[in-house]
């Protein structure tokens, strides 16, 4: 299995607050890695560092074998290869769904309008959004908006997809439609790193689960092991709280 992503000794601070304290992680192609852990444990920050939205203070990150944290690398070229979907969707409110999806392919990949539209329409169709093509984001439900955001990221044909708590801002009844999309992508072999609070989803879909605590990966392993026989007391505590809250 070749390597899609490798993170080596990454440190990240916001001022005096050290959010990531030495993260090491390797993700193989077609692997789905779920990051779990309490809010503030560094899951989102880690994802944002991987696509260079946040500068890191130490460590190195490789995507497909190329170091993206080297000085002088073209940041835009890196981001072209990595898709990210945010908790708050971040669709462009002044553009139609179709325009949201085609902006990147047209301006960054240099596709002509017709081709970009055809590809976008095919993707929207695949995820049940064909009839929303010409709507504006504020006319869509949260679940639909998030699916559009996923399609927007996919339209760039990324080799790696980062999902940052993509269901956390959704009403409970809309979570399933978004998780279904992610499952379908996993089945299709998309390499993904997913920060999530949906433990049931992580257990069923992840090939590997990492438990983050206070800026380090405290424990990682196959979902079966992490969820049924966690080794670290902190992991046990965290999962116990989730079970107590009726979320697993």
């Amino acid at each position: 299995m070749s390597e899609a992503l490798r993170i080596e000794g990454v440190h990240k601070s916001f001022g005096k607050l050290e959010v990531l304290r030495g993260i090491d992680l390797a993700v193989g192609e077609h692997e789905v890695v779920c990051l779990i852990g309490a809010s503030g444990s560094g899951k989102s920050t880690l994802l944002r560092c991987v696509n260079r939205l946040e500068p890191i203070q130490a460590g190195r990150i490789f995507v497909g074998g190329n170091e993206i944290t080297a000085p002088n690398v073209d940041v835009n070229a890196i981001r072209r290869r990595i898709g990210i979907v945010f908790q708050s969707f971040n669709l462009f409110p002044h553009m139609s769904v179709l325009h949201n999806v085609t902006l990147g392919p047209r301006k960054v990949l240099g596709l002509v309008g017709d081709q970009a539209e055809a590809e976008a329409t095919a993707l929207l169709d695949r995820f049940g959004l064909a009839d929303k093509r010409d709507e504006f984001p504020d006319r869509l439900s949260g679940g639909q908006q998030q699916r559009v955001a996923i399609v927007r990221a996919l339209a760039m044909r990324p080799e790696l997809l980062l999902l940052d708590e993509v269901t956390s801002a959704l009403d409970p009844e809309l979570v399933a439609e978004v998780l279904d999309v992610i499952r379908e992508l996993a089945d299709g072999g998309m390499t993904m790193v997913i920060a999530t609070h949906e433990m049931g989803f992580a257990r069923d879909t992840a090939s590997r689960v990492c438990f983050l605590d206070a800026g380090t990966i405290l424990e990682e392993g196959p979902p079966g092991q992490i969820f049924s026989a966690p080794r670290e007391p902190r992991t046990q505590q965290f999962l116990q709280r989730i079970v107590d809250a009726g979320r697993l």
């Binding site: 696509n51 939205l53 835009n76 070229a77 981001r79 072209r80 990595i82 898709g83 990210i84 945010f86 708050s88 971040n90 669709l91 462009f92 409110p93 002044h94 902006l103 990147g104 301006k107 960054v108 504020d138 006319r139 869509l140 927007r152 990221a153 760039m156």
Partner: protein, 207 residues
């Protein structure tokens, strides 16, 4: 009216350019940012009538043959200088009101900083500041009266001429009516735009 139109056409893009300069990030652009800030502070600080007088009387008095001598030209320059400073602040407020997550989303697609600004940030910023922009239009329209001090004959100057010829105050009323006839529709149009925006946002929230 011609004065107002000519000035406005120059102000809108010039102010946008200034606002973009001021939002450039990083220490590399510090001198440019500093210049943009100094410009805005200076021309918002000096009373408009002083700028008009300095340029309108001062420039032709320099006696430099390559400088335009026309009062109309210097009137336009003065109004452009002053209002570009005001309008750039309006644009800047608009740019800053677009949530940083929008730029993050654009950059994450691989768009450059310039592309993000052009396709994602500015279209939203400009749409949001249309009402305050129209407000500045109204101010500009009224301030064209100050240009009369240079001898450019706009409505107020014409009224003064007619009043001194006839010793009758009515021309002032006529001039005032003319100004109001332009500014009131502009004001109502602004209100209408604000109202439409609000309805749209509410509709968006309900949907």
């Amino acid at each position: 009216m011609k004065l107002f139109c000519v000035a406005e056409v120059i102000i809108l893009p010039a102010a946008l350019f200034l606002a973009v300069l001021r939002s450039l990030p990083g220490p590399v652009f510090f001198p440019i940012r500093a210049l943009a800030i100094a410009y805005a502070d200076l021309f918002r600080g000096i009373p408009t009538i002083l700028v008009i007088s300095i340029l309108g009387f001062g420039m032709p008095a320099l006696g430099l043959s390559w400088l335009p001598q026309s009062e109309f030209f210097w009137a336009v320059v003065a109004l452009v200088l002053v209002y570009t400073a005001y309008v750039s602040e309006v644009y800047r407020a608009g740019i800053e009101s677009v949530h940083p997550s929008q730029e993050a989303a654009a950059r994450s697609l691989g768009l450059s900083r310039g592309q993000s600004l052009r396709f994602v940030v500015l279209p939203q910023a400009v749409r949001r500041v249309i009402p305050p922009l129209l407000n500045d239009f109204i101010g500009l329209q009224k301030d064209t009266a100050l240009v009369g001090t240079l001898g450019v004959v706009e409505a107020f100057k014409q009224a003064q001429i007619d009043q001194s010829a006839t010793f009758n105050g009515t021309p002032y009323l006529v001039a005032a009516t003319l100004f109001v006839a332009i500014t009131i529709p502009l004001a109502r149009f602004t209100d209408w735009l604000i109202g439409r925006d609000r309805t749209r946002q509410q509709a968006g929230r309900l949907a």
